[in-house]
């Protein structure tokens, strides 16, 4: 493990700074940050599953949706306490991750992405038809118990969750396991050739990705208090997650976080000028250009700029 003290100093500064934030900013800004936090969680989980291993999943809302729906149904329809509902939701999502993993045994690349897309559309249609008394059908559910009241508490909860996930994933990815996962994305055959079981590594990546997605989805639904199939199992939602991870930088933990904050704040600043769905136009345009010309994301741009600056200082 390549750990330096200044990494931890940076993490501590970041977490400390964010925790002090409610003292300085308005609750409107805090609400924006809450969304950024959840988006960051989803983007990190997408990156674990897809960004590292190269098995691009277009069905990530499938996993998030399982987590969100499980806890929503358990708390709302069966009056089960949130302490039990969220862990069961995470477990269910990991089962979902297992389902997603099965096709990954046989196919990869663009075909795998299509299968996951089909999974998402399938569950979108099934949720509306099968047991609408439980899922609320097309209209979804509202009145799901919320965990926090007010923007400040919501911010603390979402940020602690995000920071805990980000930090543990960052540590995990610095181990040999994390290196092996990224190696699968580069060349799966040679990972197998060096005597590692790619199946087990992939299974691990899928389960971890599903774990994080389920956790994020469950807490997110308890923040929103409502759930609807079209808001969740939607290509636009997938697009937001994907774009956050892509603009930030794949195969990093900081990248998706950065991307999520960048996107959410961009959206917030665009709101006065472009109130509706038009902002996806700007979003997507930026993402597309960046993806075409700088596939490694903003993080890479930053670090390259930093290197250049260092060179100039030292010379």
């Amino acid at each position: 493990m390549d750990l330096r003290w200044h990494h931890f100093a940076l993490w501590a500064a970041f977490i400390g700074g964010m925790l002090a934030l409610p003292q300085f900013v308005s609750s409107g800004t805090l609400r924006t940050i809450i969304f950024a936090n959840y988006l960051a969680i989803f983007a990190i989980s997408w990156d674990i599953l897809s960004g590292r291993t190269g098995y691009i999943s277009f069905g990530h809302p499938f996993l998030i949706g399982i987590g969100a729906y499980t806890t929503a149904i358990l708390t709302k329809r069966f009056d089960i306490a949130v302490e039990y509902a969220i862990p069961s939701a995470v477990l269910m999502t990991m089962v979902g991750g297992l389902i997603l993993f099965l096709p990954a045994l046989r196919i990869k690349g663009s075909y795998f992405a299509l299968v996951t897309l089909a999974f998402m559309e399938l569950i979108y249609q099934l949720v509306q038809v099968i047991r609408p008394d439980l899922t609320g059908g097309t209209r979804g559910m509202s009145g799901i118990p919320t965990l926090t009241l007010g923007a400040r508490d919501g911010f603390y909860l979402s940020f602690s969750l995000m920071a805990a996930i980000a930090l543990s994933m960052w540590l995990l990815m610095r181990t040999r396991l994390g290196t092996a996962l990224s190696a699968i994305g580069m060349n799966e055959e040679s990972v197998r050739g060096s005597g590692l079981s790619t199946t087990r590594l992939k299974l691990f990546a899928f389960l971890t990705g599903a774990f994080v997605a389920g956790l994020g989805g469950a807490f997110y639904v308890h923040y929103l208090g409502s759930i609807a199939p079209r808001a969740l199992f939607d290509i636009n939602f997938l697009f937001t997650i994907l774009v956050a991870a892509l603009i930030g930088g794949l195969s990093t933990v900081i990248g998706p976080m950065l991307g999520a904050f960048f996107l959410t704040f961009l959206l917030e600043y665009l709101r006065p000028y472009l109130p509706g769905a038009e902002r996806y136009f700007i979003y997507g345009g930026i993402a597309l250009l960046l993806y075409m010309y700088e596939p490694k994301g903003i993080l890479h741009l930053f670090s390259r700029g930093l290197d250049r600056w260092r060179e100039r200082v030292s010379s």
């Binding site: 196919i107 075909y111 299509l114 299968v115 897309l117 999974f119 769905a277 345009g285 597309l288």
Partner: protein, 283 residues
């Protein structure tokens, strides 16, 4: 019973037309163009704008829609697909992003609400208890004409045979002196044109809305995945399987379940037999 057969045939003809352009690109360039649904959307909206807002004759509207589709297809190939140089996953991701961008563009121009297209050919006919609008009948006939035309084009003409060659082995085709870039350009142009025509008819079958590109894209994906690479006959057969299954599930189970079979088909075939039912040995 007669009603199911008639409706199934009509819907399947439309689906075959929708899937055709997607099959062509996938066969020749091995590229899954997730922005394909946008061609349909653009075709539909161009037709709507010209005929219903400007009052241009319908035939001119359809022609302009095809021109728009062709141009968009060529632009996507030039500016996006060619730049990514055969990185299939990157093409898939960027075309998906592009599709959402185009959807947002449509919202920007025409607003969020869905629009009803006036029937292209007004009139209704009753056949064996089924009500058949002339619009969908015309769509089916035109789709069959186009399908047969494409089949002949690919089998008989020099360019069509070059397309087949590139589809089988791009390197081998290049050695035989085929300019695969030119062939790809032609294919993307044809694909955009077909998509736009299909879009006009698809929009008159359902309605125009900024999110109308998703459903035909999924149908096209299903048809191509199940039909297999480079198989026009496969496309035709699978379009009929999916069309009939949709009509049957609508009639027997529930209209909301319409797409479930299509999704299961995609998942099942990709997991069990990734080269498709009619495709060449590959992958």
């Amino acid at each position: 019973m007669a009603q199911i057969i008639i409706q199934g045939l009509l819907l399947s003809g439309l689906y075959a037309l929708i899937a055709m352009g997607f099959t062509l690109i996938f066969s020749v360039g091995r590229v899954l163009n997730l922005a394909y649904g946008s061609y349909l959307m653009i075709g539909g909206y161009v037709y709507f704008y010209l005929t219903q807002l400007l009052g241009v004759p319908k035939i001119v509207g359809i022609l302009m829609a095809t021109v728009a589709g062709c141009v968009v297809g060529l632009l996507i190939y030039r500016l996006l697909v060619k730049q990514l140089k055969g990185d299939h996953v990157a093409i898939e991701i960027s075309t998906l992003i592009l599709a959402v961008v185009l959807q947002a563009g449509i919202v920007l121009l025409f607003g969020d609400s869905s629009k009803i297209l006036l029937p292209i050919v007004p009139g209704v006919i009753h056949v064996g208890g089924a009500t058949v609008t002339f619009s969908i009948l015309a769509a089916t006939i035109i789709s069959w004409v186009i399908l047969i035309g494409i089949y002949i084009f690919i089998r008989k003409t020099h360019t069509g045979r070059a397309m087949q060659a590139v589809s089988m082995d791009a390197k081998g085709a290049a050695i035989s002196g085929i300019d695969s870039d030119r062939i790809n350009m032609i294919t993307w142009g044809i694909s955009g044109t077909l998509g736009a025509v299909a879009g006009v008819f698809f929009a008159s079958y359902t309605q125009l809305s900024p999110s109308m590109w998703v459903a035909p894209l999924i149908i096209a994906i299903a048809v191509v995945i199940v039909g297999g690479i480079g198989s026009i006959i496969g496309t035709l057969v699978v379009a009929h399987i999916i069309g009939f299954m949709e009509i049957l599930t609508t009639a027997i189970l529930a209209p909301e379940m319409r797409g479930v079979f299509t999704m299961l088909l995609i998942i099942g075939v990709l997991v069990i037999r990734p080269r498709g039912l009619f495709g060449r040995e590959e992958l």
